[in-house]
């Protein structure tokens, strides 16, 4: 087992290095951030000084290695806009994003797992059709459009929920206040994720229900409820783990748009402003972080697989 984990980590390393190179190459294609500085009031010499201060006079590959070397010391560089260190910027924005992602993940599983299992057990019933159709709706509605609809309904028409930020300005921010701000972003994120997950869990569950050992269990006279709970659900853990593994990168991406719409003060909002400011170190830091998270999610998924399903070979 330890050997298997080590092997998976070793495979991930070249991918990670490749990611940093691609990342850096894209940034280089983007052109110089100095263009943003240039203007009639900024002198040539000032631009030149800035260039040297930022290390932009060096060739690209040296800049890359400098950056990589710093990275190994845990230093992601400094924002070109605010001069804050990227790691501290990420540190101060990651909390809200993790909160949003974690709650959305749980809510989406709470929607998808029961719905998927219900649908599989009652295949071809009216309830099944309703669930499947609804799940198609979930994966067909653009998150931002759903957000707009919700804001229109709950903020504009009903006035029940706040539409932006994480806390109400000027008030003592309690947990209830944060929860109120979270309702809509969480609904949007989890609804669109639940869409594809319901169908995935349904088909995985259908496959499990057709297995011979379940037929044997039924034939032995074990009740329907026990068959499903004791025998099928354990095996259904595998697709649920897959779903969680698939959701993490989706969540990361979805957060960018949703945070922008709801002004949720997380990584997504920070990334969008970094993108429009061409704040390279910040963008690279976020890309790297998210790639590491995705790789780690894949790794954890694979390891959990191996733990849950003894028939999966580790080689």
């Amino acid at each position: 087992m330890g050997k298997y984990i080590l092997k998976r980590i070793l495979v991930a390393i070249p991918v990670l290095i490749g990611i940093t190179i691609i990342d850096y190459a894209i940034m280089c294609l983007a052109g110089s951030p100095l263009q943003m500085l240039q203007g009639p009031r900024v002198s040539e010499a000032a631009v030149e000084a800035k260039k040297i201060a930022l290390g932009l006079d060096q060739p690209a590959y040296i800049q890359y290695f400098v950056w990589l070397g710093q990275l190994l010391h845990g230093n992601l560089g400094y924002s070109m806009k605010s001069y804050q260190s990227v790691s501290s910027m990420i540190g101060s924005h990651i909390g809200p994003t993790l909160l949003l992602m974690g709650v959305s993940l749980i809510v989406s599983l709470l929607m998808a797992v029961p719905a998927g299992i219900y649908s599989a057990i009652h295949q071809y019933s009216k309830g099944d059709y309703a669930v499947v159709t609804l799940s198609f709706l979930g994966s067909s509605v653009p998150g931002f459009f759903l957000s707009l609809l919700l804001i229109y309904l709950f903020t504009v028409r009903l006035g029940w929920l706040p539409s932006s930020g994480m806390t109400t300005l000027g008030t003592q921010s309690g947990a209830g206040d944060v929860a109120k701000h979270m309702v809509m972003p969480v609904l949007v994120l989890s609804f669109s994720m639940a869409g594809s997950n319901i169908r995935y869990i349904r088909s995985a569950m259908l496959e499990i229900l057709q297995q011979d050992y379940l037929r044997t269990a039924k034939a032995k006279g074990i009740g329907r409820f026990l068959v499903i709970n004791k025998h099928a659900l354990r095996n259904a853990l595998v697709p649920i783990i897959t779903v969680i593994g698939m959701e993490i990168p989706v969540l990361f991406g979805g957060a960018v748009i949703i945070e922008q719409i709801f002004s949720w003060p997380g990584l997504g909002l920070m990334t969008m402003s970094a993108i429009s400011n061409r704040d390279y170190p910040v963008i690279m830091g976020v890309c790297l972080l998210s790639a590491v998270v995705v790789l780690a999610a894949n790794l954890v998924t694979d390891i959990l697989y191996a733990l849950v399903d003894p028939t999966i070979q580790l080689d």
């Binding site: 070249p14 991918v15 490749g18 990611i19 691609i22 894209i26 940034m27 294609l29 983007a30 052109g31 159709t133 198609f136 709706l137 994966s139 067909s140 509605v141 653009p142 998150g143 931002f144 459009f145 707009l148 609809l149 804001i151 229109y152 504009v156 990168p249 989706v250 990361f252 991406g253 979805g254 960018v256 748009i257 922008q260 719409i261 990334t271 969008m272 993108i275 429009s276 061409r278 963008i283 976020v286 890309c287 998210s290 790639a291 995705v294 790789l295």
Partner: protein, 282 residues
């Protein structure tokens, strides 16, 4: 023995899915309307034809936007653009994915390793983040958006094709053609590829749906198709302003509904295709 041809079987199985059949009809109507936009649109989409932010009326069925352009006409042209982006991006990613998947699967070894690691890398970037960064760098615009989406969506197809090729490479009919001395191009394109068309087609429908959604999201954020060209996403952009959101729903609800309808129809069709093309079905 049945004398039903493959296509007949597929059509028979497809028709069992009523929602998909309806979707096909709906999609056909939308595509036709988009293609015929220059003929059926009541106004020029860029023409300042009426009052500012006019509500729907007999003259302007879906009202007018902030600078007095006809929303219905813009919607027709926007559908055209969004479909174009979706289809072109899907074509590009399918071509890239098929070529890389064929190479990786058939030749194996170093080529396979390099291609698959590269696929892993592209897949590790959160998709939307990658598209946003690329869109910011390459200047937003119609063709850049198509290229970006096309270059981001291929890894799934490459993996799919590779897996299929790996299986097919071991089949006797491919070996039989090697023994018969058939050239590589025949084996790849005449023996292997036709047997992977069905899964590619199914996957491509989901790529198409995703591309349309992504174009919409990008344009909504102002990083996609740029005005004055209308796309379904950038028509929704205006809804970020509170006035539009609260008082002018005719500006943002119709394009949103068109996106949902198109994407849902494509998803239903893809689902029915999955069933209809299933080699083990009946």
């Amino acid at each position: 023995m049945n004398s039903e041809s493959y296509m007949q079987t597929v059509i028979r199985r497809f028709r069992r899915h009523h929602l998909a059949a309806v979707s096909l009809l709906v999609l056909f109507v939308i595509v036709a309307a988009a293609l015929l936009a220059p003929v059926i649109a009541p106004y020029d989409p860029d023409e300042l034809a009426g009052p500012f932010s006019g509500a729907p009326s007999r003259e302007f069925w879906l009202g007018t936007d902030q600078i007095g352009r006809d929303v219905l006409s813009r919607l027709l042209y926007a559908t055209r653009i969004s479909l174009l982006v979706g289809v072109m991006a899907t074509v590009i990613s399918t071509v890239i994915g098929v070529i890389l998947g064929l190479i990786a699967g058939y030749f194996g070894g170093v080529a396979d390793m390099v291609i698959m690691r590269f696929t892993d890398m592209v897949m590790s970037f959160p998709y939307i983040l990658l598209v946003l960064v690329a869109a910011a760098i390459f200047k937003p615009g119609l063709w850049n958006i198509i290229l970006i989406l096309g270059f981001v969506d291929w890894p799934g197809i490459a993996r799919l094709v590779r897996g299929n090729v790996l299986n097919l490479r071991e089949t006797n009919f491919v070996k039989g053609n090697i023994v018969a001395g058939m050239p590589l191009r025949h084996i790849l394109f005449s023996e292997i590829l036709p047997n992977t068309v069905a899964p590619i087609l199914i996957y491509a429908t989901s790529v198409l749906a995703l591309s349309i959604l992504d174009e919409a999201a990008l344009s909504f954020l102002g990083q996609g198709v740029q005005p004055p060209t209308a796309s379904l996403g950038n028509m929704l952009n205006g809804a970020q302003s509170l006035t539009v959101l609260t008082t002018q729903p005719w500006l943002w609800i119709p394009p949103g509904l068109v996106i949902i309808t198109v994407v849902m129809a494509i998803n239903f069709i893809g689902d029915a295709l999955r069933d209809a093309l299933d080699p083990n079905g009946c």
